[in-house]
């Protein structure tokens, strides 16, 4: 039997990004958590285990033997109509890959936290987006949080979005390893009762595993039907573009928190150059923007909050107003630049001829400071002055140093 739930009042706590995510799962009244530990994610599921064990959270906690099983258990729980949650990083996410497709194609609104960590080999536990970027085409909605409050709020917003009857897709929220996951910041935690108003109990209206009305999802389907199901997922991604702005507005009204919708601009209204970056790279870019503005560099920054569906409309509208876009990628698409650089160029193609300069930064957790970003802006400005239109640079590479 599940324990009796005790109340915890609304309060601001100084907690790590990982704890913020654990508190979000609690605030969202997650019903099933299936998880396997992996650095730097582990303290999320440890904290949730503590909530469940002490009766603060009324959930079933399933300890599984692998991340593949963790996602499989979430698939089963969600299919039975429960709100399911898990968290992972790096190799764990890669190991889940097959089940990510199952979850998305079965249209199950599972929400997961991904603490971004570099892929092996060699072993590296530090921040790097290769793990989540590699899951780009699984049908999962991807968020990148830039601070701990955003990580907390986005988990709750993601459930509301994923459980929308026009969407029914899963989502994961990315946190940069250690920069957010193990760094403490003040985070306002809301009462479950208040969150209930924003996020009602999950009801599977599309399909459900139910002993009284037995059905199967995923029997063999011939070429006559499969294609339309893939289209259907893409169509739901388009509904994300319609629904998420309303959800963010409502969240702001209820809880006073605003992190933007798909993107969030910083000093972009009069900016001639705009840095596009996800997560903490955006936060650091804002520091660089302030510093550069003191030297009269007309620059702004745009947070890429949602990576899938890709916010092409936002990027086109920013690109139309500025002279140059600079993208920061913490991952590579081996053989073809960085994924954000490629997507930004693809999004604006045929819409505007704004030059785009891409930079690979911070792979394997290498530090990216405002000084690095300022150097990048200087480099891009020189390229623009030379009349270049596009380039991709591996910033700070130590290969060939003398």
């Amino acid at each position: 039997m599940l324990g009796k739930v005790k109340k915890l009042g609304k309060k601001t706590l100084v907690i790590t990004g990982n704890y913020a995510v654990a508190y979000a799962a609690k605030s969202a009244r997650v019903e099933v958590v299936a998880a396997y530990p992996i650095t730097p994610q582990t303290s999320i599921v440890e904290k949730i285990a503590e909530f469940v064990e002490t009766g603060l959270m009324n959930a079933k906690y399933i300890r599984v033997e692998s991340e593949h099983s963790a996602m499989a258990a979430c698939v089963g729980a969600s299919a039975a109509g429960a709100r399911a949650f898990t968290a992972t990083s790096s190799q764990g996410l890669a190991y889940m890959h097959e089940m990510l497709h199952w979850a998305a194609r079965a249209r199950l609104p599972i929400v997961m936290a991904v603490v971004n960590r570099a892929m092996a080999t060699p072993w590296n536990i530090w921040s790097d987006h290769q793990d989540s970027m590699s899951q780009r085409d699984t049908g999962w909605i991807q968020f990148y949080a830039s601070n701990n409050q955003e990580a907390y709020d986005t988990v709750i917003q993601a459930y509301r979005l994923c459980e929308d009857e026009d969407i029914y897709l899963p989502a994961f929220i990315c946190l940069d390893a250690f920069i957010l996951s193990h760094t403490s910041m003040p985070v306002t935690i809301h009462d479950e009762e208040d969150v209930d108003k924003f996020l009602p109990k999950y009801e599977a209206r599309h399909w459900k595993l139910d002993v009284d009305n037995p059905v199967t999802n995923g029997n063999i389907v011939t070429p006559d039907h499969y294609y339309e199901m893939s289209w259907s997922m893409d169509e739901s991604m388009r509904y994300v573009k319609k629904k998420f702005p309303e959800i963010c507005e409502e969240y702001k009204e209820l809880f006073g928190q605003w992190h933007g919708v798909f993107t969030k601009g910083y000093k972009i209204d009069d900016a001639e150059y705009v840095i596009i970056a996800p997560g903490t790279l955006f936060e650091e870019s804002c520091v660089a923007v302030d510093m550069l503005r003191e030297n009269n560099v007309p620059i702004g920054a745009l947070k890429l909050r949602v990576y899938r569906p890709f916010p092409s409309e936002d990027i086109i509208s920013v690109a139309r107003k500025c002279k140059m876009l600079i993208t920061l990628d913490r991952a590579l698409s081996y053989g073809f630049n960085g994924p954000i650089f490629n997507d930004v160029r693809s999004a604006i193609y045929g819409e505007t001829g704004t030059p785009v300069f891409g930079y690979a930064v911070g792979l394997g957790g290498r530090d990216v400071t405002f000084n690095d970003i300022s150097s990048i802006v200087r480099d891009a400005t020189l390229k623009l002055e030379k009349g270049l239109h596009s380039s991709f640079v591996y910033y700070g590479l130590k290969v060939g140093e003398k």
């Binding site: 079965a106 249209r107 009857e165 026009d166 029914y168 209206r205 599309h206 399909w207 037995p214 059905v215 199967t216 999802n217 995923g218 029997n219 063999i220 389907v221 039907h225 339309e228 199901m229 289209w231 259907s232 169509e235 739901s236 509904y239």
Partner: protein
């Protein structure tokens, strides 16, 4: 009501929704009714619900849907079920 653009491969269990799966069989289970004690373990274990219970209480294999997995033959405690290659007579 599910929205029109949400297309799901959801199916309800019906007899023969996958076609006549009995065609998949390489070996077939055959019940020797002289030995059968009507315990119905075969009926209980059959993963394809291809064993029916007759009015007289004996189990009967539906060869239209029996895939020949051999579970009933393995489970039968009184060895009333033999498992023979298709095309061959019961030995």
């Amino acid at each position: 009501m599910v929205k029109d653009h949400i297309i799901l491969p959801v199916s309800k269990p019906t007899e023969g929704s996958m076609g006549k799966t009995g065609l998949w069989r390489t070996f077939r289970p055959v019940i020797n009714y002289d030995k059968c004690v009507k315990c119905l373990l075969c009926w209980f274990y059959c993963p394809d619900i291809a064993i029916k219970i007759r009015d007289d209480g004996y189990p009967e294999i539906d060869y239209c849907y029996c895939k020949g997995c051999g579970i009933c033959w393995h489970e039968c405690k009184v060895k009333a079920i033999s498992f023979v290659r298709e095309g061959e007579e019961v030995g």
